[in-house]
Symmetry: C2
Subunit: 143 residues, 2 copies
Amino acid sequence: MLDISELSRASGFSPSKLRYYEEVGLIRSAGRRGLKRLYEDEVKTRISLISLAQTAGFSLGEIKETMGPEGRPDLDRTVLAAKADAIDVRIKELTALRDGLRHVMNCTAENHLDCPRFQRIICVALTKKQGDAKRSKRNPNKG
Amino acid sequence: MLDISELSRASGFSPSKLRYYEEVGLIRSAGRRGLKRLYEDEVKTRISLISLAQTAGFSLGEIKETMGPEGRPDLDRTVLAAKADAIDVRIKELTALRDGLRHVMNCTAENHLDCPRFQRIICVALTKKQGDAKRSKRNPNKG
DNA sequence: ATGCAACTTCAAGTCCACTTGAGGTCAAGA
DNA sequence: TCTTGACCTCAAGTGGACTTGAAGTTGCAT
């Protein structure tokens, strides 16, 4: 059992952030000693996962959905599969961007946006994005 | 030359977003017809890149820094290299998360956080995060 | 028993990335 | 010429993710 400052130190999350996460139902304290929250060790892993999911671009709401208040981050497979696929897409975009960046470092073109090599590197992600724009016409500009 | 609604349609960005990006200096219009903005075709690529960089987790401010108002997204190599490395780290995290998710789909453990296989999959990203927390002690909890 | 640092709650504030709304302008077609 | 609709500006509003501040409470060392 950890108190909030120990958990904060262990996780790198500020106490206010931990209280906030509890308030919105992302984590919970196992009990109290007086007023003071006590956390199980398990929440450290949970917090790391939350932070991971955030860098993957998911909102706290989405994270909460796929990671119930109980320990089990379970839900029906289709939802998990969809999340995994979404991450895959993001990985591809990031890879393209990274490669584009590394190319720019070694490329002497005056305008990189016009460099055919650069364009080829990022075109996967680019055409994908454009496709998205087209596909979401019914609900325009909400993404 | 495109007007704002054409660019909006082509890029999937709302007109208000395009005006906002111009206001903060991320894109610019090549001129006006009367009051109405006119954009060069090039900004389409620029917009896609911005959106890409956003999904990579960079703020508009950071994006602006590495992508001057002119066409060239150039800056000294060390900055670009740092960005590329940051993306690499993110890719690793996302890969771990995705694999963790896919594992959970096929794992029958009652609590996945305790599943050693799951833990092994995401441990790279986890220990990395913990390392971060430790390293930024001087400026605690600002990440 | 007393002091106090570390916790607590709750409301309000902040920052980012936009969106919305009110009121105005203008180019082009009927 | 007149209308209309798509643009314009600028200020204010929104939602997400927290942080900050004020005021109160408490476990623990002295």
